[in-house]
């Protein structure tokens, strides 16, 4: 049967099992919105800004390991979506973003709401397409989902001119896709796997350093088995938290600029670093010349270009985390390999010495609310099982340090791009993916204002997100850097006017709470989380001058931490 491009769009999404489509209509996508209107299989979620639509799709994808899907119109619709697309590119989130385009014959004419979407998004997508013929549409959508979800995941943009969405053709959705120019590796090279096992068995001061790739590659079970089997310590990156339970004694928590003392010291002094799905980002390595001077490095990554990009690797393994870890475990089994505790006894002794620094310790003096305390209580009241999203800044680091993620996919934040405004829409995506789960958005009073309009979306779709605002009256991380490195000249890092967040939340139809005393935190949180069906916006007035510690100043080595 012949279908229009718009109908093919819907039928293709159904074939891909898409349940939620985040978007915002406009002129160039009106045929598609007409087709959306006439069906019930794919739920369209109307956000209040295209950036929100893409972040919501990211949150959805991060929570449940399925691709996020968004649709926006041409011109400003597409440019508003770019921040979300770039965010997904940096954090390797599988997204398919559809953008409307002006009709084919107007392309290049500076038509109303025309931008070169393919040109603009080229450097921040894994791949992008302009569909020039309706006959190519189904095939292109199939390719887009395939590229977005395989290999190192990432966003794919499909730009659809308005006339293409109204032209008709026979609808045939391809069963599978073959691309001669795109064949991601899956299994690691067996010789390198043997070399990795040799290195594991020989190590005396080893450490696992794992990242977001373990979560994206759904390799948590294999990772946990390998870490337990070896008895080695493990540190996880900001993007990888929860792939291995952080409450486990083998976990040294997060590493990097705001990582723990024990994690960074253990990396620095190790003789073997087992990097899995992590990418030696500058926030992790600090000064690259001082990074892990004595360590041999194993690096498992699906993206060959990640390997030896920043740090020279001794045992490179290109492949998917899950099968590679399974192969390492199988090789260990085959050799009947054991890891005698005495091999690393001295190493653990040393690590436990570093742990005594208790670098995340903090006091609760008097009435003032410490942000760290709020996050500890958030963990307690949600039994550590909530989906926690965050924006970007101090609150993000505190959430990473104090929530103690024990499960994968629970921690959803903007790591690579560092996008303020990510948290609330991402929480919407997570809540839609898991309607019965607790979703909390940890945010700051600066970040939340960047996508605050999405509170209306939360009302429309009855999303009972718990917003945990750590309101210190400053752009906290900017202020912290200005205090440390700019002699306390707080240039533009505070607002002379802030909204009354309680009234603001109420004006959107939600429940607002303001808490400004330490003694009131627990009760307020209990009340908020007891309201299962409501979005509760908690405005915690926290210590305005609290800093995130430990901290490796930019350019410092791993062992050069500021502790308090």
């Amino acid at each position: 049967m012949e279908l229009t491009g718009a109908q093919i769009f819907i039928e293709s999404l159904k074939k891909e099992g898409v349940t939620h489509l985040f978007g915002y209509p406009g002129g160039a996508v009106l045929y598609i919105y007409d087709a959306i209107y006439q069906q019930d299989d794919v739920q369209h979620v109307l956000t209040r800004h295209e950036q929100g639509a893409v972040h919501a799709a990211e949150g959805y994808a991060k929570a449940n390991n399925k691709p996020g899907v968004a649709i926006v119109t041409s011109g400003p619709g597409a440019t508003n979506a770019v921040t979300g697309i770039a965010d997904a590119y940096m954090d390797s989130i599988p997204l398919v973003v559809f953008t409307g385009q002006v009709p084919k014959e107007l392309i290049g004419n500076d038509a109303f709401q025309e931008v070169d979407t393919v040109g603009i998004t080229r450097p921040c997508t894994k791949h992008n397409f302009l569909v020039e013929d309706v006959k190519d549409l189904a095939n292109t959508i199939k390719k887009a989902f395939y590229i977005a979800t395989t290999g190192r995941p990432g966003p794919v943009v499909v730009d659809i001119p308005k006339d293409v969405s109204n032209e008709k053709t026979e609808f045939v959705y391809p069963e599978k896709v073959e691309m001669r120019s795109y064949k991601p590796s899956i299994k690691g090279n067996p010789r390198q796997i043997k070399a990795a096992v040799d290195a594991l068995l020989a190590a005396r001061k080893p450490i696992f350093y794992t990242g977001g790739g373990v979560i994206l590659g759904q390799g948590s079970d294999e990772l946990t088995e390998l870490v337990r089997k070896t008895g080695f310590p493990i540190t996880q990156t900001l993007m990888g938290l929860g792939a291995f339970p952080m409450s486990d004694p083998q976990s040294l928590a997060m590493l990097g600029m705001h990582g723990t003392y024990e994690a960074n010291m253990a990396m620095h002094k190790s003789d073997l670093v087992i990097a899995i799905g992590s990418r030696f980002d500058d926030r992790v390595t600090g000064n690259i010349d001082k990074f892990c001077p004595d360590a041999k490095i194993i690096h498992v990554d699906i993206d060959p270009s990640s390997i030896s990009k920043n740090v020279k690797v001794d045992v490179p393994i290109v492949g998917q985390v899950k099968p590679v870890l399974a192969a390492i475990l199988a090789e260990l089994d085959q050799r009947d390999a054991t890891f005698p505790a005495e091999n690393i006894e001295n190493w653990w002794k040393q690590i436990n010495e570093w742990r005594k620094t208790d670098c995340l310790n903090f006091d609760n003096p008097g009435d003032v609310i410490k942000p760290q305390y709020v996050l500890q209580q958030l963990h307690k009241i949600t039994s550590g099982d909530a989906y926690v999203t965050s924006d970007v800044g101090q609150h993000q680091m505190w959430a990473a340090q104090y929530y103690n993620f024990d499960k994968p996919n629970r921690w959803i934040n903007s790591g690579g791009l560092g996008t303020m405004g990510f948290g609330l829409p991402a929480a919407m995506g997570a809540q839609l993916a898991y309607p019965d789960s607790t979703v909390a958005c940890v945010t700051g009073e600066a970040s939340i204002q960047m996508c605050i309009q999405e509170l209306a979306t939360c009302k429309q779709y009855k999303l009972p997100i718990k917003v945990v605002l750590l309101n210190n009256g400053f752009m906290g991380m900017v202020r912290q850097w200005q205090e440390f490195f700019y002699e306390g000249r707080y240039s533009m890092s505070y607002f002379d006017s802030l909204p009354d967040f309680v009234m603001l939340a109420e004006s959107f139809g939600h429940v607002g709470m303001m808490i400004d005393k330490h003694a009131d935190v627990d009760a307020a949180m209990k009340e908020a989380f007891d309201r299962k069906d409501d979005l509760v916006f908690m405005d915690f007035r926290t210590d305005p001058e609290e800093n995130v510690y430990p901290m490796i100043p930019a350019g410092g080595g791993q062992s050069e931490m500021i502790l308090v």
């Binding site: 040109g119 791949h127 001669r180 060959p304 270009s305």
Partner: protein
């Protein structure tokens, strides 16, 4: 160090800008780049000349391979290969320099494509070094315009670089 890379690209709109954009986004340098369709009309072949240390070249190769539009690539520098460049030169000549230019054109096996009372247009094909020597040798005639094709490269191996 100078590196020559042959790339087979999907022959589709935007493929060239994906390669060019990768180089500018990651601050790699392009010394020359030439591209045209091949016997297989679905594929274009590009010869790209770049400079960098081993680490940068390794990254360039990996990043190029990561582009969905890149079908296959081959680094020519480490293998036996030939490299050619075509140069068109417009030289201003007069009674004193005309014979000199003709003689140099013979010596370098270049050819004169167009003659006017005051100018020659000369075609020269060869290795980069040879074309540079030729240009230098034309003095005292004045070279007023020059256009180079950029390097074209091919390995001498019996195994062809093909898309399938």
């Amino acid at each position: 160090m100078r590196h020559v890379i042959s790339i087979l690209l999907e022959n589709e709109s935007g493929a060239l800008s994906r390669v060019a954009g990768l180089f500018s986004a990651r601050a790699y340098n392009i010394e020359s780049l030439s591209v045209a369709p091949t016997v297989d009309p679905t594929v274009s072949r590009m010869t790209l000349v770049t400079r960098g240390d081993d680490h940068i070249i390794e990254q360039i190769i990996k990043q190029l391979n990561k582009l969905v539009s890149v079908v296959k690539l081959q680094e020519l520098t480490p293998v036996d290969h030939i490299e050619r460049e075509m140069v068109l030169i417009k030289a201003e000549v007069n009674d004193k320099t005309r014979d000199h230019v003709r003689m140099m054109t013979d010596i370098f096996k270049a050819s004169i494509l167009s003659v006017s009372p005051s100018h020659f247009v000369i075609e020269m094909t060869g290795e980069r070094r040879k074309s540079q020597e030729f240009i230098d040798a034309l003095a005292p005639a004045v070279v007023v315009e020059i256009v180079r094709s950029g390097s074209q490269g091919m390995s001498l191996s019996d195994k062809p670089l093909r898309s399938n």
